[in-house]
Subunit: 283 residues, 2 copies
């Protein structure tokens, strides 16, 4: 299996891990990395996540069979507008953004304006960590993880298949969703935990942190993620996130009421339900 | 250093780890384990967490220089009432309970009623995991962790020193607090994260769990802890926990308002504050 020339725009943790995975598995003829910081490209070259690195996005995309936008979600629509006119006829544009509704609708417009000479398949690999930068990239980052694809109606089936094959080859299990369903799900399983962890972190007094053990460390881990990246995700998934946060607030409110009223059976039931749910899904 | 005959009541994760630690480091003449399930005592004997196991609590405590109550917090006052009359003059009773205010006041009464022939030093090792049972016990569980001691005014200094020495010998760093300060701190760094993780777990739809990655796994990990144990902790630290949950609710409410109003700078500031706090305390 070979996916030809793959250009990765943004060689950070995710972009770098895709490059490493493609190269170590011999899945690409050439991997071109694009970044605006030479230092980061040099690091990507050094760890062999890419074969060539350039700041010149135009020439980097015109040769590519697949172009992967692996930047912060807020940059994706603008970059697409800039590169689609330079892309090869029939090439596939894809991304790794944590939101899909806004990005897919913006990119569908960009493609239409350019006469549908190339295609877009939205993608979101559900992997990563609170760390950023190509220095944390791993060839097996996606092994055993899920990658959601959100092909639009106008995307030909062969393109969806090609991107599915690529993610399978990188070790991920592909699930196909519509962008709205994707955004609803990630609001709960990814964006809500992030804002909950950040909120929890913000209410703990400075002097108390020294007493924190593994429980606190794990519960708040994602709060160490990149704030700009998460603020951009929040902007693009505002409604679903607000709705998830409100439902969570109601749950906390009910807990407080039960604890305060000494309704110990209800408190116990709530904790039992949580344990049983978590144990059945995350063993 | 030798702490003589140590009787551990409750040979689960914590009790078993204390036994393993004492025995592997040669810190006790004899470690006696007390439990009401023979199976659990047999397991403790098998992994050599204890030298002797018995269901007869009376004879197990009368020889002991130190008796450690390593059960769920709700059992501690009742067990103390039962064993203090059988304890050796001058022996030290201690515990590992996650709450201290209620336990210390109850145990002070028990000691007074028995003519202060032995002593009590409240203790709370801030270590453990969502797992339970002696099969998860580790001799190094407390290595690098904190153990809070809450000696009462009536506890002689030598007793506090002895229990401090024991925890230091097990690898923990000892901090002395009054019971109220302890309960306030753990409400934030341990009990709040537990209820937040359980609340988060309870609002996620069954069909969404399959998409969860490491972030969700870590943020909700503690929700897999023993519900009975946590419900008991909640009962004994109700006021401090309610107050922590309320402050957390206010934080979430402010987040929701800012996200909804599109106040993106405020959202970003909140995420930045959380990252900077967490990065500075939990590296």
């Amino acid at each position: 299996m070979n996916f030809g020339i793959v250009t990765i725009i943004g060689t950070g943790l995710i972009g770098g891990s895709i490059g490493l995975g493609l190269k170590q598995r011999g899945l690409a003829t050439l991997v071109i990395g694009v970044g605006h910081r030479k230092l980061s490209l040099d690091k990507a070259l050094e760890i062999q996540a890419i074969d060539e690195g350039t700041c010149d996005i135009g020439t980097a995309v015109e040769r590519a069979d697949i172009v992967i936008l692996a930047t912060s979600v807020d940059l994706i629509p603008g970059l697409a507008k800039k590169i689609v006119p330079s892309m090869k006829r029939g090439a596939i544009l894809t991304d790794v953004g944590s939101t899909k509704g806004y990005i897919v609708s913006q990119l569908e417009d960009v493609l239409k304006e350019n006469g549908d000479t190339c295609y877009f398949i939205g993608a979101h690999p559900l992997a990563g960590s609170e760390q950023r930068g190509v220095e944390f990239a791993l060839p097996d980052l996606f092994e055993g993880s899920i990658c959601v694809l959100t092909p639009a109606n106008r995307s030909p089936k062969e393109c969806t298949k090609k991107i599915t094959d690529m993610w399978n080859a990188l070790g991920a299990k592909v699930k196909i969703l519509n962008p709205r369903a994707h955004d609803e799900i990630v609001a709960y399983i990814s964006h809500l935990p992030h804002f909950v962890a950040s909120g929890l972190t913000n209410v703990i007094n400075d002097e108390y942190w020294g007493y924190g053990a593994n429980g606190l460390k794990d519960t708040t881990r994602v709060a160490s993620g990149d704030p700009e990246l998460w603020a951009s995700i929040c902007k693009q998934n505002r409604l679903a996130l607000v709705s998830a946060l409100r439902q969570f607030s109601e749950e906390i409110k009910s807990m407080v009421k039960e604890i305060e009223e000494g309704n110990d059976n209800k408190v116990l039931e709530r904790l039992q339900r949580a344990k049983s749910v978590r144990d059945s899904y995350l063993k």
